[in-house]
Amino acid sequence: MYILGISALYHDSAAAIIKGGEIIAAAQEERFTRKKHDNSIPTNAIAYCLTEAGIKPQDLSAVVYYDNPLLTTERFVANLQYAGDDTQDLLNLLLDDLIQKKLQIHKLIPQAVGCPDLSDRLFVAEHHISHAASAFFPSPFQKAAIITMDGVGEWATTTIGYGEDNHIKLCKQINYPNSVGLLYSAFTYFCGFKVNSGDYKLMGLAPYGEPVYYDTIVENLIDIKADGSYRLNLEYFDFQYGRAMTNDKFAQLFGGARRTPESNITKREMDMAASIQKVVEEIVILTAKTAKQLTGGETENLVLAGGVALNCVANGKLQKEKIFKNIWVQPAAGDAGGALGAALYYYYQHCNNQRIADGIHDTQKGTYLGPAFSDADIEKVLTENHCVYHKTETTEALYETAAELIDAGNIIGLFEGRMEFGPRALGNRSIIADARSPVMQSKLNLKIKYRESFRPFAPAVLEEDASAYFDLEGNSPYMLKCANVKDSIKKSFDLENAMKETDNMLPVVNMVRSTIPAVTHVDYSARIQTVTQETNECFYNIIHAFKERTGSSVVINTSFNVRGEPIVCNPYDAYLCFMRTEMDVLIMGRYILYKNEQPEFKEETDWRDIYELD
């Protein structure tokens, strides 16, 4: 029984295919089209899933879309009524997006799948059910409380539910326009970042500031109840009219106009980031307490999904609160993961199939669910592009060489195995470097990623050594939890004084904050990936070889892309990214390329014009 799940037409389109309860493949469309956050019908991802499963479209038992367009339409029309006379922008959206696309999925999806007759096999699940299913069904837990939070689905923006065996049930929800996701996005927008892709930046900016606007927010923008439920004061927002996220009244509240994108970041933006982060953490923690109450204290497990669940700082705080002993977050917590959830929901709940959970292992397969490429595929690309390369004789030699190169200060593009599903690169489409280097953070940001200097990098650490470096509760295989570095490796520095006289963050970024400064944020936090041999043998062995050589079990792990570019998918994408940046070495499969050996690389157009800044 093969089931195809599809998310599309909001943001981060994706397809996922399951066979029985086993996840066979999942991928985001952006990786194939090279258009970040591509929201089109995921034709390429669908084709990949069918190929990976080795089936034809006719073999599919069901195709499940992750959202109910009829309910979305209902919300939309209610929104029109609310908007009254001020409806022109909304109606533009109505035609462009809702009428032409979402309500036409019964035509668009069969076309994309390549099966004109999907009658009786095309289903829609609700948006937050898809999120909830993506969080619970692949989790290790037989029972768990469920929380989903995002911008908006059809109506719901936050839900609380419960999962047991092969069944989930959502009990409570908060409806649009009240949305913690939209509130956070309003701050992202106002601070001059792009909504959705810029939300991570706001989270990364928060530790530079102080939450001085916390009271302003809770007194004017949002009313938070003791149970974590909330209501927005719409007088400060414009999204409900189909326009910008915030309005003039919002700007007045924060002392002036929105920051112009790409202009200097000032103390105001840092403090706004810190303030909204505090509000989100408060809501997440209160909601978790309510989830615990609603589930009668029957479970020590919590699963999370929805875009807000990608806020790893909030996840880390939630773990520290110990409301639930165990927390599992869907690695593709945003809309992409809805494709997987929709398929799993159909299989388990609609078809009532048995689910087995051992309490320890999830079924996400390390989220390495995308395409892989053979050595022959890689060599073909290298030959076609006249690359100079070295093929290692053994995998052990590859690990040793990689470790030696990292130790020597090189920045390495690492392309191995199946591509990750979800926004995080976890060692198969990664750029890796030495976390001990005090200059590596700014070097990576400015010369490799071409992004803002303040943005932090994540550590990948051998799971068995994580406790030597970080105050981490449990593990973090998907880089979705933040924790502080251990006191024993901290180095003191005075952030307040350093930031007192200047808005320039670069000197602060370059201050040594621990023995692994490149992955230690200014508040001593780190977004951790714990690596095991079981889930990623190659990445584990490279870090292990690095440890043997240096005594350090930590490397920098950042996604293999430049700013505005989707993470690389195939060997050619990786080769292009390697040649376009100041990366030193590229490792693909068993092949090693050194930049200084490569023939001159020329492109007719500047790649910086290809990718829109995020």
Partner: protein, 107 residues
């Protein structure tokens, strides 16, 4: 310009609590903003289900003629035109007008 003249027809199916949600009314006295979750149903999606939705809309809309063709098309598509009988896509305005603002991902 009011595009929806007869709001009472709309409210027949736009549930009272959802309209309440859209309002700015005071929160005084409320202990919680949670509502019961929707039924979590999975449904087959086909021409019939879309037609059912169209029937819901039929009569809810009484639209003034907007000078912009796309507005009329939007309303026609939702209220009057059976999707299975459409032979061509509605005409589009210029590409610039078709662009969806990047911040409106939630629609």
């Amino acid at each position: 310009m009011s595009l929806i003249k007869e709001k009472n027809l709309l409210s027949a199916w736009a549930k009272e609590n959802t309209i309440k949600t859209m309002s700015n009314q005071s929160s005084e006295g409320e202990a919680s903003y949670y509502t019961d979750a929707s039924p979590n149903e999975i449904m087959e999606y086909n021409y019939e289900s879309v037609a059912d939705m169209q029937a819901m809309f039929s009569g809810c809309w009484n639209i003034q003629c907007d000078p912009k063709v796309k507005t009329i098309l939007a309303v026609s598509a939702i209220a009057n035109v059976p999707i299975e009988h459409q032979t061509q896509e509605p005409a589009m305005d210029s590409a610039s007008e078709m662009r969806i603002p990047d911040f409106i991902y939630m629609f």
